[in-house]
Symmetry: C2
Subunit: 740 residues, 2 copies
């Protein structure tokens, strides 16, 4: 692993990148900006945020509900009142809501799952159920099936390899899977691919219940009746309205027939609580599960199939609803055509206090402060657009439709997209495009943790040093910047980053409070303020962090993009790809040899049905040379740009435009193999992980999925993408130093 | 890591060690010996073993019970009838048996633990309870205490470090600990050292219950009422009768006052089932346990202290009982003064089908076959002594008293001690003195797995290759001999190996059947033959393996000791010691730095009580040079011996005596620091692990326990021990090649 330290110390005194200057600002501008940021901080009011949170989380407010519309209007009124040019951008989208949900054990005993969540005396919100959507998985198809259960653990690819070794086939069966280890939509997708006719997903108490900590209302973890709702739309194919891929779901948009929509599941799926799962799992027989599959219920888990036989029925109202995005705009005083976009969704599955309102109120606090600063004469130089998205929960729909609808303008004008979503407390989690790594680190250096007098960066680094795995620890010791996470999916940055190639950021606090209320009836104001972020201390800090992120992009004379962080991260990915191929080649070969010489068979327990693994085709050697050559060029260009950028204070609209459109060069119009909506060739959600990121996804997934023929062409594409980026950076250096 | 391959391929055609010859036998003798072994195999009768098992496991047969005496007599009669010169060697030993056992939750709710195990309709043995000892821990002291509970996880040293970080002190409290991760006696020992006034030990269902697999009678795992009995005598200080350390507990032996016996616990301790543990743990409060401490009960575990308050009372009858060892002797036809000792205990905590009778019936089958062979003209050349030990369960008492009683003779005459104990099915587990590594490997090469047509060695190697950790896998690929396990404690080899310096072996099958019946009412004939070793297939194979082990030692013209295996293993231990010191030094220093610069504090969750770790004194550098110099000499001497031994067929009583007494040179009369009974300086049970081995224990424990001043002197002693061994090997080479 190579560490490419920023060469900032070489910078001249008048340079924009001098050590104590804000990235993209010279000394004087840095001082002005820091003064603005002090005023920003002073205007962030946790009490006000708490009030907004209380109001908006009073009722369930999923897209299409009256409360969601009311919240959109509430947000719009606030933004309007602060001086934003505000509109509600509405889209007509398909949203299935449940009509019939039934899960019934029909043999060897009988039991009907309640599929409801308990009202708790300790939490008044749980009694306010007007408009409540019961537990369901949006974009499950309709269906009624009856079959034996097979326990598929987390329902991810390696679990099916294990089942195969046990001689268990899910064809014609109902798969029962634990939540976790993948985005939920992967579970019915894979189960369907394997031949299952239905999927039940439950939260195991070992992962998310009493096995993890005290359950609600005593503690924050999942109540025994709690059910994680959530979309199972095939978002790794494309997110957004299922009927209008690639275009805005305006009233008159061309729409697919629902039958042709490829992102609705192949088989019906329903989520249940662990209380409802218990009788189903207890009735199962067959071989005992592998030790690491056992969950936290007080029974021995079995693989099946059967004798537990289940009838499940899921029927939905496939109606159209209106998604209300609130779009608030403050035109830039100097560069109105350069847009900094800052978003957070507002729809929740239920009361949605944590998800998404904890982030939404941070956005509002920021927006209010920015507006006040503008009124006080500190109007941002660039245009700032706040987006409060609707319909994120069913599939990033509000943001996606808006981004698709305005794709051309956004590609032209968008400097960056800054996202938040549900947030809690603990350590600042930094995700985003690596051209913004240094910029984000600098912000984290300048905001303090609300519970201690150290910076967020110090605290996040301490966490990595103390709690990280050895690789993370070693890196945290040496690397000046905290490595920021590449973005997969799971929130509204996806259409901006991966569809449009707009450099994006995702910010949140986490790591010190539990997620047990996620998508359940218990994600309430009461739960959030008691267990997640009492006093909204971290929420207010998030507003300060995101406010800086917005204002630095809005005010920077030269945009704070830089490329050594990008090059370093890409060099890591290239190393990972080589290691991945080597490790797969070695383990494939070792397994093959041990199968051939009988070693594997000799190690099997003759009293159990677990068989030897299936031999896989040998993994060939791949030429990574094109990628490495392109990476060399990228690294050289990035280093040269650092030097040029440090030496020269030159800035211009041309330079800024070359900077902020650089991320577009990492995309290709034709998109990824098999999923053209995803156009970014460095960051994508995994086709079989869902939210989890795959970096250099074309190459990585070809290797992982053992599609060896595809590896070389994908390496070629990735190398071209890097070459284009290097060329842009070279052009930038020449432009900045006036060597054109 | 250096691999020292045996240089057997250099051997001349007339050498004893030629590749196809049995170690210590020339070609002709090998052929004769293999013919004997074929006859041995033919005489092993699993049906007969099954019958002995059924008879002896009919009733509970702990030491002091009528059934134990009856079993001793039954064994003696069998051995006598086969032609052995048989005696019952009786010792008078202290054995506490329970009078009062009470555990009662007194606050915040009330509950009385049943402390009894259920009778099961499916297992008739569980209804036969005449003479049954109820669940208890032998050598707990008497006491009645009442205090709040503290949950101490497994109650091992690192658990107390975690508790300290939570600010929790067990002083004046009752510690409740899970079984596992250490020998049980460590739990009250440590709890007492830390100030607790009582200890409760329970089997957590995640480790040993429904979380591990189907429970009895559906499956083999621990029934909800099952309680693991067992001794908590401080065996790492000395095993055997607590009143007669170092001497045989004959009727007239000098005895300590009970009050002065150092191996009785400082605080009362009682074991319970997970059914009884549930209400106690559910009543606890305080901070939630660290995630990895959570067990398998359907509650969130808490650290306490309290509010659960427990009264526990343990009162014992501290009576003397008679332990009946059966000693059967067949004098050798040529070397009657060289003794091969083969043992297995006969006492069980209850019906004891698996533990110990599964091993005992293998010993009997072997003994019967050996006697028949003798009658048929194949009397062993050396004396063979079979020992069926009593009172192993309360603390290796029968074997220890016999070994102490006959210490001088044994030091003079004992060639080796071969042990078995409870055995089940799966892979052959080879443990013992490394001078016998090659000999054991050769046996494992020549006996086939009963369920497949491959050798036990191939199967054991396959297991390491498929299921081992990467280090084990890598070694299993390259090393000709399977590395045998160094012996800690937990069975009757301890007095022979670690007190007397007699090269020892421990053999068992395992890895493919569960241990859930261990020391419970459910260790019955029914359980064993249904779940552990149906048809006694592996039991019969164990008789073949151990029979070969006995007869090869008994008949070898030159004893099959060799030293390259020893040297290789010791080189591994020396490496481990250096790595241990380096790793401790580095982590101590890293922690210290992170404490000093505030990194640790910054990573702590301000909403939780977990604090930073306590800084420890820096770990100095130690000079391992004396040990490495001695190791070099040992390696050279071992290699030279291999060459000499291969080149020359010379053998004599003198050579054999030099060979079999070589293990004595690894001992020192003064024993280990603080526990003089343990005289072996290469193998010992860990002072804070109990059964788990510590190799080169003087050095290793000084480092682990951070007693840095002791490291250099202990290195000196270990180096001297290796030097003495090297000198002996050099003498052997000279003797064999006639260069004296």
């Amino acid at each position: 692993m190579r560490f490419l330290f920023p060469v900032l110390l070489l910078a001249g005194s008048n340079a924009l990148a001098a050590d104590d200057n804000i990235q993209g600002f010279d000394a004087a501008a840095s001082a002005d900006q820091r003064a603005i940021e002090s005023q920003l901080d002073a205007r962030i009011n946790a009490g006000e945020m708490d009030e907004w949170l209380r109001v908006m989380s009073a009722s369930p407010h999923h897209v299409g509900s009256p409360a969601s519309k009311a919240n959109a209007e509430y947000i719009a009124e606030l933004l309007e009142s602060w001086g934003y040019d505000t509109e509600i951008a509405a889209y007509e989208i398909l949203l299935p809501t449940p009509k019939v949900r039934e899960i019934e054990l029909v043999a060897p005993s009988s039991f009907s799952a309640s599929l409801t969540e308990d009202t708790l005396a300790e939490d008044a919100s749980t009694a306010r159920r007007e408009g409540l959507l019961p537990p369901y998985n949006a974009f499950s198809r309709d269906g009624e099936v009856e079959a034996e259960l097979v326990f598929v653990n987390y329902g991810i690819p390696e679990d099916y390899e294990v089942l195969e070794r046990y001689g268990i086939d899910v064809t014609g069966k109902i798969a029962i899977a634990k939540y976790g280890r993948s985005w939920r939509g992967i579970k019915p997708k894979l189960a369907g691919e394997k031949g299952a006719i239905g999927t039940i997903i439950y939260s195991d108490p070992a992962d998310d219940g009493y096995g993890a900590g005290d359950v609600y209302p005593k503690g924050p973890f999942k109540h025994e009746s709690g059910v994680q709702r959530g979309s199972v739309m095939d978002m790794p194919t494309y997110p957004g309205d299922v009927l209008t891929p690639g275009r805005g779901a305006t009233e008159r948009a061309r729409r697919l027939d629902r039958e042709d929509a490829p992102t609705i599941t192949e088989i019906p799926v329903l989520p249940i609580s662990y209380r409802d799962a218990m009788p189903l799992l207890a009735a199962m027989g067959g071989e005992v599960v592998p030790r690491e599959w056992q969950g936290g219920l007080p029974i021995t888990y079995h693989l099946g199939p059967g004798p537990a036989r289940v009838r499940m029925k899921a029927e939905f109202d496939w109606g159209m609803v209106t998604a209300y995005n609130v779009i608030a705009r403050l035109d830039g005083s100097r560069y109105p055509d350069e847009w900094v976009i800052r978003g957070n969704h507002h729809d929740g599955w239920n009361h949605g206090a944590a998800d998404p309102l904890s982030g939404q109120v941070a956005l509002l606090a920021e927006a209010k402060a920015v507006a006040e600063l503008a009124k006080a004469g500190q109007r941002p130089l660039r245009t700032v657009i706040y987006g409060a998205w609707d319909a994120e929960e069913p599939g990033l729909i509000g943001s996606t439709e808006w981004a698709e609808h305005h794709a051309d303008e956004l590609r032209e004008h968008a400097v960056a997209y800054l996202n938040t979503d549900g947030s809690s407390r603990g350590f600042l989690s930094l995700g985003g495009s690596h051209v913004l790594e240094r910029y984000l680190n600098q912000i984290a250096e300048e905001v303090n943790d609300p519970r201690s007098d150290i910076s967020l960066k110090q605290r996040a680094r301490a966490n990595r040093l103390v709690n990280g795995d050895p690789k993370v620890q070693a890196e945290a010791k040496q690397r000046a910047d905290l490595r920021i996470n590449p973005l997969g999916s799971g929130s509204d940055y996806t259409p901006f980053l991966q569809h449009l190639g707009i450099a994006s950021v995702n910010l949140a606090f986490g790591g010190e409070a539990s997620d047990g209320s996620y998508h359940t009836l218990y994600d309430t104001y009461e739960h959030f303020t008691k267990f997640r972020d009492p006093g909204l201390l971290y929420g207010a800090t998030l507003a300060k962090v995101a406010g800086r992120a917005t204002l630095r992009l809005a005010n920077a004379p030269r945009l704070p993009f830089e490329f050594t962080g990008l090059a370093d991260n890409i060099s890591l990915y290239v190393e990972e790809l080589e290691e991945l191929a080597d490790a797969m080649r070695e383990s494939t070969e070792t397994t093959r040899l041990m199968l051939e010489d009988g070693t594997y068979a000799a190690a099997m327990n003759p009293y159990k049905s677990l068989g030897v693994p299936i031999a896989k085709a040998p993994v060939p050697h791949f030429s990574f040379a094109p990628l490495k050559n392109a990476l060399d060029r990228l690294e050289a260009a990035a280093a040269e740009f650092d030097t040029s950028a440090a030496a020269s204070g030159a800035t211009s609209e041309e330079i800024n435009q070359l900077l902020y459109t650089s991320e577009r060069l990492l995309t290709r119009d034709e998109g990824l193999d098999g999923r053209p909506w995803y156009k970014h060739h460095i960051y994508a959600p995994g086709f079989y992980t869902g939210y989890g990121v795959k970096t250099i996804p074309g190459v990585r997934e070809a290797i992982e999925q053992r599609e060896y023929d595809k590896v070389a062409p994908q390496i070629e594409i990735a190398a071209n993408v890097l070459d284009d980026m290097a060329e842009r950076i070279e052009l930038l250096s020449r432009t900045i130093t006036g060597e054109m």
